[in-house]
């Protein structure tokens, strides 16, 4: 079965290449749908497949740049990208990312990069999962209360409305973001992008994992605009990150290309699927994916404290993360095909 393994020229490790393709296609679909690079699945996934953590991060960011470029182009055509908001956020993202990337090099030198990245992942994923499901619960409570009062909840209403409080901050300059329908202080998106950029650099993610919910809950973007604008940001931070990590010698281009072949096509499927699934449907699916990722990272951490469990937890984490990528991407693809069928049938009916 040697033919199923390919020797990576830079990292010097033999990698199971079908795993790379599955990861690429799956993460392409998921990334295009949720508006993120999907690195929160790829980095642990690559690490599980055998890449050292620093190479996993760099390789992931490199493939992400190409994939998010395609997704941004698609979402741009759907009118889902607020370019003004995206450009404002670029400054914070780049500054934050560089600081994060420098910190990961330092953590690598002192030999604690693996555990630190995994623990940070855990805390972050738990926080995001809570935020998403709390939001869904609050929205459902509002709907129940409105139904009891004999009223109907506004279709644009959301569960969590932290952004309304943040919009009261009137530090100049104020900006009007037309696509997102927001009027706020420019410092709000700058501060959020700096923080998410820093996380992106240190965790080796495009930043979408936290920026997408931040755009919804803190900036106040509609879900679809958050998805599109976030991908625009991921594209920029991904390109910058790819250059930064490659120059530091931590990118395995062969692996990135194998993944990108599948990811670029999957990204189109995921982006088009947002046409057919409602905003809260996207949020709930996102929350479930985060929970799955949280469990897989937890499984990778257990052997650090209980070495005897290594073999069992390692297999479980591999199965879970690849299974999660496969299940989510199949679900999104099926929804996309169903929606497309209805659209084509409706078009034929009109003719």
């Amino acid at each position: 079965m040697d033919w199923l393994y390919i020797l990576m020229p830079i990292a010097g490790v033999k990698i199971f290449w079908p795993g790379l393709i599955i990861l690429g296609i799956g993460v392409g679909v998921i990334g295009g749908f949720f508006g993120m690079g999907g690195a929160w699945m790829v980095t642990p996934g690559l690490n599980i497949l055998g890449f050292p953590m620093a190479f996993a991060i760099g390789t992931d960011i490199a493939h992400m740049a190409g994939k998010s470029l395609i997704s941004t182009m698609r979402h741009g055509k759907f009118g889902n990208v607020d370019y003004k908001l995206g450009l404002i956020m670029v400054f914070g993202t780049v500054a934050g990312f560089e600081i994060g990337a420098q910190m990961i090099m330092w953590l690598e030198r002192i030999g604690i990069v693996g555990p630190v990245v995994r623990w940070m992942y855990l805390v972050l994923l738990a926080l995001i999962a809570w935020m998403v499901f709390h939001d869904v619960a609050v929205k459902r409570r509002k709907e129940r209360e409105a139904a009891l009062a004999g009223k109907e909840v506004d279709k644009l209403a959301t569960g969590i409305e932290w952004h309304k409080t943040l919009h009261k901050i009137k530090i100049p300059p104020m900006v009007h973001l037309k696509v997102a329908g927001i009027y706020c202080s420019a410092w709000l998106p700058i501060a959020i992008s700096f923080f998410t950029g820093w996380l992106a650099g240190i965790l080796g993610i495009g930043g979408g994992l936290i920026r997408m919910p931040s755009l919804i809950y803190l900036v106040g973007c509609p879900t679809h605009v958050a998805v599109g604008t976030d991908l625009f940001e991921v594209m920029i931070s991904g390109l910058y990150g790819a250059a930064s990590y490659t120059f530091k010698g931590r990118v395995e281009l062969v692996a990135a290309i194998v993944m990108l072949v599948g990811a670029a096509m999957g990204a189109q499927v995921g982006s088009v699927a947002t046409k057919y699934i409602k905003g809260y449907g996207i949020r709930i699916a996102f929350g479930l994916a985060v929970v799955g990722c949280l469990i897989s990272v937890l499984l990778k951490l257990i052997p650090t404290y209980f070495p005897a469990t290594y073999q069992v937890t390692d297999v479980m984490a591999t199965v879970l993360i690849l299974g999660l990528v496969a299940a989510m991407s199949v679900y999104i693809t099926v929804k996309m095909v169903q929606g497309a069928k209805q659209e084509i049938a409706a078009k034929k009916g009109r003719v």
């Binding site: 830079i10 330092w106 120059f247």
Partner: protein
């Protein structure tokens, strides 16, 4: 105005270049880890690629940054063509709710 811009650029460049030293202050030695690709087991393009990595990270970076978007766009456009051929509307979206 021009001199102010020059000063800002100078300060930012200095900060960026000195950042590894600042962040390594608590970690001791700041010498970067050097990874050398073992090209002895490789042949053809793979060997050339590994050698390029060993010889110049700059050329390696430039080529990577050029190749990644090109390959992405190539396969993305291919998927676009297939979906357009199937009959999916790729220019508009009806949904506008949260």
């Amino acid at each position: 105005m021009k001199s102010v811009v020059q000063k800002v650029v100078l300060v930012l460049t200095t900060l960026w270049l000195s950042a590894p030293y600042a962040f390594a202050a608590g970690g001791g030695d700041v010498a970067p880890i050097v990874i050398v690709a073992d090209s002895r087991k490789l042949t053809g393009v793979m060997a050339w690629w590994a050698n390029l990595y060993n010889e110049s990270h700059l050329y390696f970076t430039v080529l990577t940054v050029i190749l990644i978007p090109i390959i992405g766009v190539l396969f993305g456009v291919l998927a676009d063509l297939i979906m357009h051929f199937v009959g999916i509307d790729l220019k508009s979206r009806d949904l506008a709710e949260h």
